[in-house]
């Protein structure tokens, strides 16, 4: 008999302690970040979308070899005199296959890095063409994408980087 009542008491006590915990957290403020108005700034080492700076790139194609899923493609520039120049004719990153593993940034020999991960986690593409972002001679810093329907280069309509220009890493 006593065992029965002590069991009932234990069950009731366990239920009440559970309720007190939920009450405790009800009175604490919520920890929600309201996304569109309050955006989180990722930490400094965050691996967001790749960005590329054609000025400092010496087209050594180390990043092409380092990329596991073969996303990066580039072509060495040739000066008018037909001599190879340490510049890039064009450079393209296929964001559809990039798996944000930072191997390309680590293999890039230039100082500061010419391909690096920005802090942008809002990587959104309106179409599959937009996934392949290209850099050429006079393209803006963000680069353009080639739209097969209209056969011309366009600015990326999707979410532009959360930061206009991410912090450079030496």
């Amino acid at each position: 008999m006593i065992g029965y009542f002590s069991k009932v008491y234990k069950v009731a006590a366990a239920l009440v302690t559970g309720h007190l915990i939920t009450l405790k957290y009800m009175l604490k403020p919520s920890i929600t970040i309201h996304y569109p108005t309050e955006k989180l700034t990722p930490y400094e080492r965050f691996r967001g979308a790749l960005t590329f700076d054609a000025a400092t790139c010496i087209s050594c194609s180390m990043c092409v070899k380092a990329c596991p899923s073969n996303c990066i493609a580039l072509e060495n520039a040739v000066s008018e005199a037909g001599k190879k120049v340490a510049k890039v004719a064009w450079y393209s990153i296929d964001f559809g296959k990039c798996n944000f593993c930072r191997l390309c940034e680590e293999s890039c020999p230039t100082k500061p890095k010419s391909v690096w991960h920005s802090l942008d986690y809002e990587v959104v593409f309106a179409s599959r063409d937009e996934m392949v972002r290209c850099w050429k001679k006079d393209f803006p810093f963000i680069g353009k994408y080639f739209d097969r329907r209209t056969q011309d280069f366009k600015d990326p309509e999707g979410q532009v980087c959360i930061h206009e220009v991410p912090p450079r890493r030496s």
Partner: protein, 188 residues
């Protein structure tokens, strides 16, 4: 008990089970001459305390992997209309003993004295047959179905040897080195 004691005890019971040339790094590896020794060896090991069949797999020693077995669908790149050059050309390494054989590997673990032993059996690639251990170890059931699905090794005495991982419409056994991918409706 150290590897040598285990090997000695095993060779006393099964003289034909020889220590393989290529040992799995710091574990004992034993190879069996023919597929009928497998069940007795497994039963003896189970009695000896190796009652945990940790892993069951196969390796195809035919040669370097055939690149046509991979699906390469890069997004359209305006500068490379015909698609990027494949990255890693798998080349044969000179002097490595490629041989047209499927090597089946079993790993038994004895939890009491924390020992592990690898048992190997070489099986011809075309008529790859081996006795099924699902009678002794229940976990062999799914692992053997996986090796059948990916390598095409038929395990005699298996309750229901059917495909487990690859989709039904996929022909051929993907993990064989000479596997060539046949275009199906999911390839653009």
């Amino acid at each position: 008990m150290t590897q040598d004691e285990l090997l000695a005890k095993m060779q006393k019971k099964f003289p034909k089970a020889a220590k393989t040339a290529v040992q799995v790094k710091d574990y004992l590896t034993v190879s069996l001459p023919s597929k009928d020794d497998l069940i007795p060896v497994a039963a003896w090991l189970k009695k000896e305390g190796f009652d945990y069949l940790d892993m069951l797999t196969a390796v195809d020693y035919l040669g370097p992997v055939d690149m046509k077995g991979y699906i390469r669908q890069a997004n359209f790149n305006v500068f490379l209309p015909e698609g990027a050059a494949p990255q890693a050309e798998s080349a044969a390494v000179a002097g490595y003993a490629y041989r047209p054989v499927l090597e089946l590997v079993w790993a038994f673990v004895s939890m009491k004295d924390k020992a592990r032993i690898f048992v190997k059996l070489e099986v011809p690639r075309d008529a790859a047959r081996a006795p099924s251990l699902s009678g002794l170890f229940k976990s062999a059931d799914w692992q053997e179905r996986e090796v059948f699905d990916l390598f095409g090794v038929v395990y005699d005495g298996h309750p229901n040897l059917t495909k487990i991982l690859t989709p039904d419409f996929l022909q051929g056994h993907p993990l064989r080195k000479d596997y060539v991918h046949i275009k199906d409706r999911y390839d653009e």
